[in-house]
Symmetry: D2
Subunit: 286 residues, 4 copies
Amino acid sequence: MSNRKPYQLVSREWKKENTEFTVNGVTIGRDLLMIAGPCAVENREQITTISEYLSKLNVKFLRGGAYKPRTSPYSFQGLKTEGLQLMREAADKFGLGVVSEILSIDKISELEEYADILQVGTRNMQNYPLLKALGKSKRPILLKRGMSSTIEEWLLAAEYIVSSGNEKVILCERGIRTFENATRNTLDIAAIPLVKSLSHLPIILDPSQGTGIRDLVAPVSSAAIAAGADGLIIEVHNQPNEALSDGDQSLYLDQLKDLLPTLKQIAHIREKRFDFESNAYQYSTQ
Amino acid sequence: MSNRKPYQLVSREWKKENTEFTVNGVTIGRDLLMIAGPCAVENREQITTISEYLSKLNVKFLRGGAYKPRTSPYSFQGLKTEGLQLMREAADKFGLGVVSEILSIDKISELEEYADILQVGTRNMQNYPLLKALGKSKRPILLKRGMSSTIEEWLLAAEYIVSSGNEKVILCERGIRTFENATRNTLDIAAIPLVKSLSHLPIILDPSQGTGIRDLVAPVSSAAIAAGADGLIIEVHNQPNEALSDGDQSLYLDQLKDLLPTLKQIAHIREKRFDFESNAYQYSTQ
Amino acid sequence: MSNRKPYQLVSREWKKENTEFTVNGVTIGRDLLMIAGPCAVENREQITTISEYLSKLNVKFLRGGAYKPRTSPYSFQGLKTEGLQLMREAADKFGLGVVSEILSIDKISELEEYADILQVGTRNMQNYPLLKALGKSKRPILLKRGMSSTIEEWLLAAEYIVSSGNEKVILCERGIRTFENATRNTLDIAAIPLVKSLSHLPIILDPSQGTGIRDLVAPVSSAAIAAGADGLIIEVHNQPNEALSDGDQSLYLDQLKDLLPTLKQIAHIREKRFDFESNAYQYSTQ
Amino acid sequence: MSNRKPYQLVSREWKKENTEFTVNGVTIGRDLLMIAGPCAVENREQITTISEYLSKLNVKFLRGGAYKPRTSPYSFQGLKTEGLQLMREAADKFGLGVVSEILSIDKISELEEYADILQVGTRNMQNYPLLKALGKSKRPILLKRGMSSTIEEWLLAAEYIVSSGNEKVILCERGIRTFENATRNTLDIAAIPLVKSLSHLPIILDPSQGTGIRDLVAPVSSAAIAAGADGLIIEVHNQPNEALSDGDQSLYLDQLKDLLPTLKQIAHIREKRFDFESNAYQYSTQ
């Protein structure tokens, strides 16, 4: 851990205490942030079914892609504005916050209208004009790590947003690209505590993109919280086998439910408030 | 080499013969395309000195960054419009074509005004809204490989541009990210013949970004042409040790001159017309 | 997860239940296996001090290198036979099992004499003559993952040992080599549950080699057990700053003590018996 | 290129002029070293047919595996002593030198009896006891780069051999492991000139292992010589489609013949004597 760091505003040296901010009743950076939902919004029934289920589990945030950055121009590119509208409608009905991806500057105002948190995907982590523009937004930014970005480059990407005026940045480890292809990416678990030591920003983990394999989501989610992560973003689908994208890595709804008790126990050890369970668990801030 | 390819318009199956198009007198895809210039335009004297030197070597294309995608928000971000103006002025004076990087959709028309070829950098290879917008441009697009992109993802990025209407795409291998840090990136030399077999698009190589070490530029440039590359894009500077960026990998002007005779010999073997020498070398198309 | 697997004897298809075997009172594969000790045995005082401390924590296994595979021929190569003797002496005094690395076939009988578990290091994971010879040993083999080996290659290396006659193989994830150099290696946390699903062999994790940073050892150890690991191998030293090798990643003895209560809590959740604490925790086999 | 290098005897600082030594009439380090042959010796007819063909092309070295390090214990492991005998017999009949792989210390004397050059494969590059033992051999050692080894680690492996007494080391770049799986490995072409600047040892390239694709062998071989390589080791087979191993990357015999004229032209530019052609090309040492 070098002493000369090229980033400033996001560093622990700049600010000792954790950055915390509250969205939809969850104090991100202190409580455990649970985000779940489908890879892409597909239709009203899908997104409503999933939202209702999440609300019953007391998961407070719905994820869903409306503008999808697909590797092939011939793949499903998302429902766009309609997708955002369907997601907002379902989220409002069940009291959820909305997280969705922003691909270009010209869509920022639309995303701000429909979403509570704007996600920058792995392919745009070094899209600097976009990062600067998001520095002018009032919405928190979920900044995924570039699939081949070093931790330093990632923190510098966050520095672009913060130095442009927006301090509400949530980092998200989503796996890096390596020679190993048994999993879709290689989750860098050590990045969780390392980033916590280098920066005051909250950091969560994406076990779905990170592994690409449904059965690995539960153990890896446990590991992330044990390592000190501030939350998780998990892909779930009411019918994974019929999903238009990423079905293999999406949990069945019941699998999400089954996952929560263990996560709760580990979060308890880490003194993270577990917002999606009964309010009995009210830990003092660590 | 799998039989089922997810790209179509850029594939050899779609079009057997090489894509060729002429810019500033050079028939790209047939002649050897030589592009040289500084990492960033810094001032009139710098860009004029370099341009004059290139014209004497008969190198027909000037590269130079005006909008620079820098890892840190605190690094020099380029002269922007002024940089483009200075570059166009110098290029016009010495009969050069201009290659410069495009970072966002809102700058496309400006870049089209000042540059002959628009470069998409490694960080934007999967910026799909930008690629689609460039598909509407009349200018050729120099598409650098993402630093952690597979060849398939790279060809799919080209497919985004071509399927949006612009067939003039030049691929550029610039090294991938690996564990080896003796060089800045690891140049994937096999990508040259592999891409030539998979696609009809021209492909060039960037030995400067690819190695990050000045003394490796000459031998790696020779290797690229020997492997069948359609050209090179090389960083040169009149005062590398005072360059605002990438000085360590920039050739001195005299080093560029010294490099050319060997390249000419290898290009001759590969039956590539060597446009930057006397017009005595007029090979028939291979 | 492909259906056609090239390995057989180590696969879950071949044997459904976990492989378990008892060494020094610990049932590996069922209990939590805790191994700790210095990178290299340096002298009697060092190894005795560490051994005594481990015994007080009820950690049952002492690690220590006597034959060290060093990248440079000019680095400390280990105390060899003398190191093994010192380690055995200290271990016997405090009731510990010994784990040490084997580098070549001609040293197997010596290692068998002094050590309870023979470790194959990352550089020898594909040293097939050595693996075959270890298949004839009565000692359990701790098989570290090659630093650039896929999970499939790793399981095939285990298959070499098992198919040669030795079923007592413990796999050890120790990080893979990637572009990220903020940590010494990138720990592949998903490998833990993935290997548990593919194979019946026990798997542990090395947070010291895996991160190379002392402060990351505790959170990463917690993550490993949360992910389902069967144990940990941790570098500790009585004077890390004066260690002859790997001091930066070695825990102070007190740090090891401080780490254990959290590990105990997470092991409890995973129903792993915690042998190094009071015998109060006697879980039924999962 | 750091100034403080951990290796000494293999460095250019230690010895300015190229290391050169003559085997079977070829002065390695000055002439172009061409080695060709099958992945594995399979039977007398195969190795005799190939040897005769090589002798007609004036290729002076036959490669062939007798002890094969296979990823699976169930794959063909080589003909062992019989394979060495068949290879020596065929080589002697047609005036060829023999290159074959050494896997363990106890086979060194056997290999020395049958082979002129002993090859250390990629999996054994950090098998230090083996390297030290080979430092006592009179035979030159062909040291392949570890598939995930840095250039520094590779030169340190060579330092193990040289510091143990054997100065005749030939380095061989054979591709490193990266995320790209369109090719078997990623050939690090910049390693050729970089190693030439760092070390006085000869360096050759393996385009067959390096790419894993037959059609890429010719262009990549040209690139290697253009980059300054001292030679090539190429897999050829009289019946690639029936080869017991590595058939997909083995050239047909006629493809080897067709490859040579272009290599000769590029070697001429690089002032490497082309030993496998007529003796007309006698360049002075560079």
